[in-house]
């Protein structure tokens, strides 16, 4: 194993120090529930079950006999232990518990040094026991053997092998049948799973794939005559180099054999298994100690840091570690094109010469879009145009020059904070509010640090002192209630930390939902909390990002609007932006820049030429205060749009799935077809709150007017007043996060918490007049 710092870590880790190992074992054991329940009757035991487990693990680690444990005891704990107690404890440790302990150790190791490859193998464990087989004329005595099947994870940078799961079976059990059990509960993220011929079967490959691993299993040579699966062989040949590393797993077995003799003397099968498991536990303990030492010695830290910064640039794909699984893409190329590129060792950015009969093209190799097929190479000519070349048999590709690595990032402008300007904090959640382009590769990089923002939008320097931080980095369609909590906490931290206002850059798809969530989750908002996004990507010159960002920073820095609001274009002209209340705003058009509109109310105000004009009332900002975060969301809520022909099954399946609340987007004033009544009744009877809103979006729900509505009210449906369906959905999540009592839920849903329910609707708050733009 080539692993820098291995021996240094090993020596510094005090692997042979009993106290050290015992303390590690103890701390870990504390995280699990005790291996056996404390007896309710009888004498109070001297040591807790957990301690016994730790002692056993340590004992196995050092391969102590029971009496040696007795001797070492004073080092480990203040009290003395009798040797037989150790024996009894060992007998009481059950296999499931040990498996959990093993898994816990593995998780610890994985956290410090991520395992890039997984291997499955088995070895024999001998027992001194003989089995008697009576024959007619003689009695045969044969040695009993056990088989140890192990799933092992390998981390190359740390040179660490961690046992993930173990199964002990009789000696004559076939390997391939054990894979399923070994993989149970494991979730891979595309790592390769190496296994030898013994594991070759179609089912095993499926199982491995299902668990998220990429199986690299040596195919058995036997086939049913003609039906030998050639594809398997071809694929395997490609991954030969990877497969050769399979032997590393044997180190585990070697270690076990060396240190513990790979032998168990126990009688009962359970204790045999437990004994073997303890060996695996001991191995993991050893590895953990060493890896921790490496961590402390900062050998692994640098590696992890690099990976973390790189993962921030999600537009640019990087190879993870040196082991590239062959099937992975070279920036989008796959199949035939990838093969051709690998043949000339070309990477994106290199200069290539492609010769076809009658044409010669020379240019830089470009990345391939996911929408492209596998038959073409894309090169950028010197004139700047890209073209695709089809790889037919008579096409020759040659590499002429190696490309320069692309420079990431703008030369940033240094800026000095101006004490006369307000401090505005910008939190990023994934939408790129500013970006820049590398014309050579066409890649678009997000600009997110304060320096980069000032560089891309210089007018910011006149408005405020900016401080940026990244909360998360997701497309807004992947936003989730857990991330709402994270954003709320970050927002509260920023305001309480002294910012004059905060701006949250967010994707437009679900910005309305997040705005509503923040309106409920942040209590005592005394400064502006502004959400902003852009409809057209910010690398275009025509993007609406700059005006939106400037208006948002104006609102955050200058205005006294102490609410959660959304600031986006107010018309398709680059003229002014509107400030919408967070609990009353909705995205109404797929692509126009003035897509966000306030529903059932006028916007709070508008920003034009840097001036903020008020259009309706709002909470005024205060000098000081403290924002508290009350962000408990119950994610098991569903938003169901009612339509003619809707099946009761829809509601019933939600109930079966464990839904805690349902928001119905009913028709008209808040109605559903009568066929749904029984399901709704059932839901309410089970304690699932049902809230009614309208798919008309505008207007107020009134279920007292028609009999259908009255029936629904009788069933116990909560009318949603003039809330938007999306806002009611978020609010129900928030309310259910606080209480399950249906009366309470109803009361809270009907109370105006953050401006989502208005008592009166203005006549001028509706769609724009026809023909206007």
């Amino acid at each position: 194993m080539v692993c820098p710092g291995y021996w240094a870590a090993r020596h510094s880790s005090k692997l042979d120090d009993v106290e050290r190992i015992f303390s590690i074992a103890e701390k870990l054991v504390r995280r699990l529930s005790p291996p056996w329940q404390r007896a309710k009757r009888g004498r109070r035991p001297k040591f807790s079950a957990r301690k016994h487990a730790a002692i056993c693990a340590t004992a196995r680690y050092f391969d102590y006999t029971y009496r040696e444990v007795e001797g070492q005891a004073p080092l480990m704990m203040p009290k003395a232990i009798d040797h037989s107690t150790v024996g009894w404890a060992l007998k009481r440790l059950r296999v499931p518990y040990l498996k959990l302990l093993l898994l816990l150790l593995f998780r610890e190791i994985n956290r410090l040094a991520r395992c890039g490859i997984y291997m499955v193998d088995s070895t024999g464990i001998s027992t001194p026991r003989l089995r008697r087989r009576k024959r007619v004329l003689k009695t045969l005595w044969s040695r009993e053997f056990l088989k140890l099947h192990a799933l092992v994870g390998y981390s190359r940078p740390a040179g660490a092998l961690a046992v993930v799961s173990v199964r002990v079976t009789a000696g004559n059990v076939a390997d391939c049948t054990q894979l399923k059990q070994l993989l149970e509960g494991q979730e891979g993220r595309g790592e390769p799973l190496l296994a030898d011929r013994g594991y070759d079967s179609r089912r095993n490959r499926e199982i491995a794939a299902r668990h998220g691993f990429k199986p690299v299993i040596k195919p058995r040579a036997i086939g049913m005559g003609r039906w030998v699966n050639r594809k398997k062989f071809r694929e395997f040949r490609r991954n030969r180099r990877l497969y050769r590393q399979r032997g590393i797993a044997e180190a585990v077995f070697g270690g076990i054999e060396n240190r513990y003799g790979a032998m168990v003397r126990c009688k009962l099968p359970a204790t045999k298994a437990a004994s073997v498991l303890l060996m695996a536990v001991a191995h993991n303990l050893r590895t953990l100690a060493r890896v921790r030492a490496m961590r402390e010695m900062e050998i692994l830290i640098v590696y992890g840091f690099i990976r973390q910064t790189l993962s921030m640039f999600k537009d640019y794909r990087f190879k993870h570690g040196k082991h590239q699984f062959y099937g992975a893409c070279v920036s989008g190329y796959k199949g035939k094109a990838l093969k051709a590129l690998k043949a000339v060792r070309a990477k994106v950015g290199d200069r290539l010469r492609v010769e076809k009969p009658g044409q010669i093209h020379e240019g830089i190799l470009m990345p391939r879009t996911e929408l492209g097929d596998q038959n073409h190479l894309v090169i950028k000519l010197d004139s700047g145009y890209n073209l695709g070349v089809r790889l037919t048999r008579d096409v020759k590709v040659r590499k002429i020059a190696v490309g320069k690595a692309p420079r990431m990032g703008l030369p940033p402008i240094a800026f000095k904070p101006d004490p006369s300007k307000p401090n505005v904090s910008i939190l990023g959640t994934g939408g790129t509010i500013a970006s820049h382009v590398d014309y050579r590769t066409g890649a678009v990089y997000p600009a997110f640090t304060a320096e980069e923002l000032y560089s891309a939008v210089p007018e910011l320097a006149n408005l405020a002192n900016i401080k940026t931080s990244v909360v998360c980095s997701v497309f807004s369609e992947n936003m989730s209630p857990q991330l709402w909590v994270k954003i709320a906490r970050a927002a509260a931290r920023a305001i309480n930390g002294g910012a004059r206002g905060i701006v949250i850059a967010h994707g437009t798809d679900t910005m309305g939902y997040t705005a509503a969530a923040l309106s409920f989750a942040l209590k005592g908002v005394f400064r502006p909390v502004v959400l902003v996004g852009s409809q057209r990507s910010s690398d275009r010159p025509s993007s609406d990002a700059a005006l939106n960002l400037l208006s948002a920073v104006s609102v955050a820095g200058k205005s006294d609007i102490a609410e959660v609001c959304v600031v986006m274009h107010g018309s398709t002209e680059d003229d002014f932006c509107l400030i919408h209340r967070g609990a009353k705003v909705r995205k109404c058009h797929t692509s126009r820049r003035d897509t966000f509109q306030t529903i059932n109310d006028l916007p709070i105000g508008m920003v034009k030429d840097g001036e903020i004009i008020q259009l309706s009332d709002y909470n005024k900002a205060k000098q000081d205060g403290k924002v508290a975060v009350d962000a408990k969301f119950e994610p098991r809520v569903a938003l169901v749009k009612v339509s003619p022909g809707i099946q009761p099954k829809t509601i019933d399946s939600l109930l079966r799935a464990g839904c805690r609340g349902i928001v119905l987007e009913g028709t008209g004033l808040g109605h559903t077809p009568e066929v749904l009544f029984p399901s709704i009744k059932r839901a309410i009877k089970r304690g699932v709150s049902v809230v009614m809103t309208s798919q008309c979006i505008w207007g107020r729900v009134d279920m007292k007017v028609y009999s259908t509505g009255r029936d629904l009210l009788q069933l116990g449906v909560i009318p949603g007043e003039d809330m938007l369906p999306e806002v009611a959905y978020v609010k129900l999540m928030w309310v259910l996060g606080h209480t399950r009592d249906m009366q309470e839920v109803s009361k809270l849903m009907l109370t105006n918490v953050a401006g989502e329910i208005l008592p009166r609707t203005r006549p001028d708050a509706f769609l724009k007049v026809f023909g206007g733009v």
């Binding site: 009658g358 044409q359 093209h361 470009m366 879009t369 929408l371 492209g372 097929d373 073409h376 894309v378 000519l381 010197d382 004139s383 700047g384 145009y385 890209n386 073209l387 695709g388 070349v389 089809r390 420079r407 703008l410 030369p411 820049h436 382009v437 590398d438 014309y439 066409g442 600009a447 560089s455 891309a456 210089p458 007018e459 409809q535 057209r536 690398d539 275009r540 010159p541 025509s542 993007s543 700059a546 005006l547 398709t572 002209e573 680059d574 003229d575 797929t590 692509s591 126009r592 820049r593 733009v773």
Partner: protein, 633 residues
């Protein structure tokens, strides 16, 4: 003075942009240009994208932030959200791509295997999204000319830009009706070596494109740009050449201009001129009582008059580069573009324009300029004047190095004026909203099978099949009505020349007269040719009939009304003998020569109703009889 172009190593190339006759390239709006007032106007601003070039883009960004906004005029029937950049572009117009592939195959070019759409950054407002979408469709075509083979470097399909319709102090007005119309761009290499051949080649290419029948016709649908360079000179891109016939003149004058600039440089080197140092001086005091209206107005509005000394340039600024344009005109162009001023004055043309000799000498004193030096003067608002003079200084310094690469505008008289500096390598990156389009062999075969006839082949066919004379054949093959011509010939078995003349000459002359030829439908033409075939109407009657049909009447009515029915031979004979009887005096006097005046009289009488040859025959016969009679009498 015939220049030896070979010695000068003249290289010329051209680019043709032709609008295609199909809906817009990235959406389904119709490609119609509108002239009336637009109901909607939308204001926008554009910001240049930052790239790794750092400083350059930052400067451009500051310019854009301080610069004018854009006001886009929108007709909701023709313009959708895609043009307004409020919706992602739709997939590429397949018809347009097929037309361009057809053109590529006609020119013998190799289509690429996969077409990628690129974005070319343009932030002067003519594209709402801040970039123009363009794609490379084919490379490597060939064009035969008298002087050899010309390579066609690229054939691209791109979207046209919006057209500028006005400008005021805060906004530039663009009309979006033209934005998005598909253009085919055909670019040749710099293979031409003399001024005449480019024009012929451009004509040929234009005819070839029109042979597909799927490109728009009319003024403004085709635009030509030329690139000219000579040894020691620099490449000039000349945009907006409207008339093909002007190309030779433009090239010649451009070469002369570059030669003149080179001579200026030599002269300056000889005089030992150095770069212009020093700042502009405010000479407003000198002109406090000037009679020059331009300067007086500026001073009245509290502008400034700035002047700069151009050392050792005396006499050179007034040197003529092209007929009617001097070096000073070049400087003025730069001042106009960068400083947005009306123009400059310089000492080589002073005293004049109301500026007196004393004022000139006072200025020379102020700037300590001798007779060897020239002075350039600008009068405008302070900021503009400074920018203008900075541009003048930059251009003057450039003159010491020779010719510099520029983009110039072609003027109607064959001269060129400066438009902007030649842009660097195109800022192009890939358009990610549109997936690449595969061009496979099947599609190309389909198109190959349906390739139209080449113009030469068509002319040959008309001459061989329809027996038209060469000139008529050429005109007919290029005309819009060529298909109509072939249909009519097939339907009516009469002389094709007659049909061709009717379509090409008669209709054209009627249009020139002012008749509404649009009203003449295919049906009317059919009726007329039927009548001719049946012998009821003579071919000379066609113009008269068509004139009336253009006014809106039906063919039978017209024939009836003008009694254009053909005269029978008996009637004609009677008419002839009547005429002879009437004019027998003339005949006696003149004898044979009386033929002509008699023909005249007769033709007037029978105008359009009978074949002239028949009249001639009958008249001759009668005359003979008459003579015989007289002789015998």
């Amino acid at each position: 003075m015939a220049l030896d172009y070979d010695a000068l190593d003249l290289r010329v190339g051209f680019e043709i942009h032709q609008e295609l006759d199909t809906h817009k390239l990235f959406c389904d709006c119709p490609s119609i240009l509108r002239e009336e007032e637009a109901p909607l106007k939308i204001k926008r601003r554009l910001r240049p994208t930052q790239s790794e070039l750092g400083e350059v883009d930052r400067a451009a960004l500051m310019e854009a932030i301080k610069g004018k906004g854009f006001r886009y005029q929108v007709y909701p029937e023709n313009i959708c959200l895609v043009e307004l950049d409020d919706e992602p572009p739709h997939p590429v117009n397949k018809e347009a791509l097929d037309i361009v592939l057809e053109i590529a195959l006609l020119l013998g070019a190799n289509p690429v295997d996969e077409v990628h759409v690129m974005r070319k950054t343009v932030i002067d407002g003519s594209n709402t999204s801040g970039f123009q979408r363009t794609m490379l469709v084919a490379t490597g075509g060939k064009l035969e000319t008298k002087k050899g083979t010309i390579t066609i470097q690229t054939i691209c399909l791109e979207e046209d830009a919006a057209r500028k319709v006005g400008e005021d102090s805060e906004f530039i007005d663009y009309r979006l009706d033209r934005l998005g119309i598909p253009l085919v761009e055909i670019a040749t290499g710099p293979d031409f070596t003399d001024p005449r051949t480019p024009a012929e080649a451009a004509l040929k290419v234009g005819q070839l494109i029109r042979a597909t029948g799927k490109v728009k016709r009319g003024i403004g649908t085709i635009r030509q740009d030329i690139n000219v360079s000579i040894r020691d000179g620099a490449r000039q891109e000349i945009k907006g050449v409207q008339e093909l016939s002007l190309i030779p003149t433009i090239v010649e004058r451009e070469v002369k201009r570059q030669l003149a600039l080179l001579r200026i440089k030599e002269e300056l080197v000889g005089r030992g001129a150095a770069r212009v140092e020093g700042k502009a001086v405010n000479v407003g005091k000198v002109f406090s009582k000037t009679k020059c209206k331009a300067i007086a107005n500026v001073l009245a509005k509290r502008g400034t008059v700035l002047a700069i000394k151009l050392p050792k340039f005396g006499g050179l600024v007034g040197k003529e580069l092209q007929p009617g344009r001097r070096f000073g005109t070049e400087l003025a162009d730069y001042a106009k573009v960068y400083g947005k001023v009306g123009g400059i004055f310089h000492t080589d043309e002073l005293p004049g324009y109301g500026i007196s000799v004393e004022e000139v000498s006072k200025m020379r004193n102020m700037l300590s300029a001798t007779a060897d030096d020239a002075i350039a003067i600008v009068a405008a608002k302070k900021g503009n004047a400074e920018k203008a003079l900075d541009a003048v200084i930059a251009r003057t310094n450039q003159a010491l190095l020779g010719v510099l690469e520029e983009t110039r505008r072609a003027l109607p008289d064959g001269n060129t004026e400066f438009m902007r500096p030649l842009p660097g390598a195109a800022r192009m990156y890939v358009e990610t909203d549109i997936p690449p389009i595969v061009v496979d062999e099947k599609k190309l075969d389909c198109i190959r099978k349906m390739l139209p006839e080449l113009p030469e082949q068509k002319v040959k066919r008309y001459i061989d099949e329809y027996k038209l004379n060469k000139e008529l054949a050429e005109r007919m093959s290029l005309s819009e009505n060529s298909k109509l011509f072939e249909d009519l010939v097939e339907k009516h078995v009469i002389d094709p020349t007659l049909i061709a003349t009717t379509l090409e000459e008669t209709l054209v002359s009627l249009k020139r007269e002012g008749a509404m030829v649009e009203n003449i439908q295919r049906a009317a033409l059919d009726e007329i040719f039927d009548l001719i075939k049946m012998g009821e109407v003579a071919k000379e009657a066609i113009p008269d009939i068509l004139r009336e049909v253009a006014k809106g009447f039906g063919v039978p009515d017209v024939v009836q009304r003008l009694s254009l029915r053909k005269i029978t031979e008996a009637e004609l004979a009677k008419m002839v003998s009547d005429v002879i009887q009437e004019n027998w005096v003339l005949i006696e006097k003149r004898g044979r020569d009386a033929m002509q005046p008699l023909m005249g009289i007769l033709m007037e009488k029978v105008r359009g109703r009978v074949d002239g040859r028949l009249v001639h025959q009958l008249l001759e016969r009668e005359l003979q009889k008459f003579e015989f009679r007289t002789e015998t009498s």
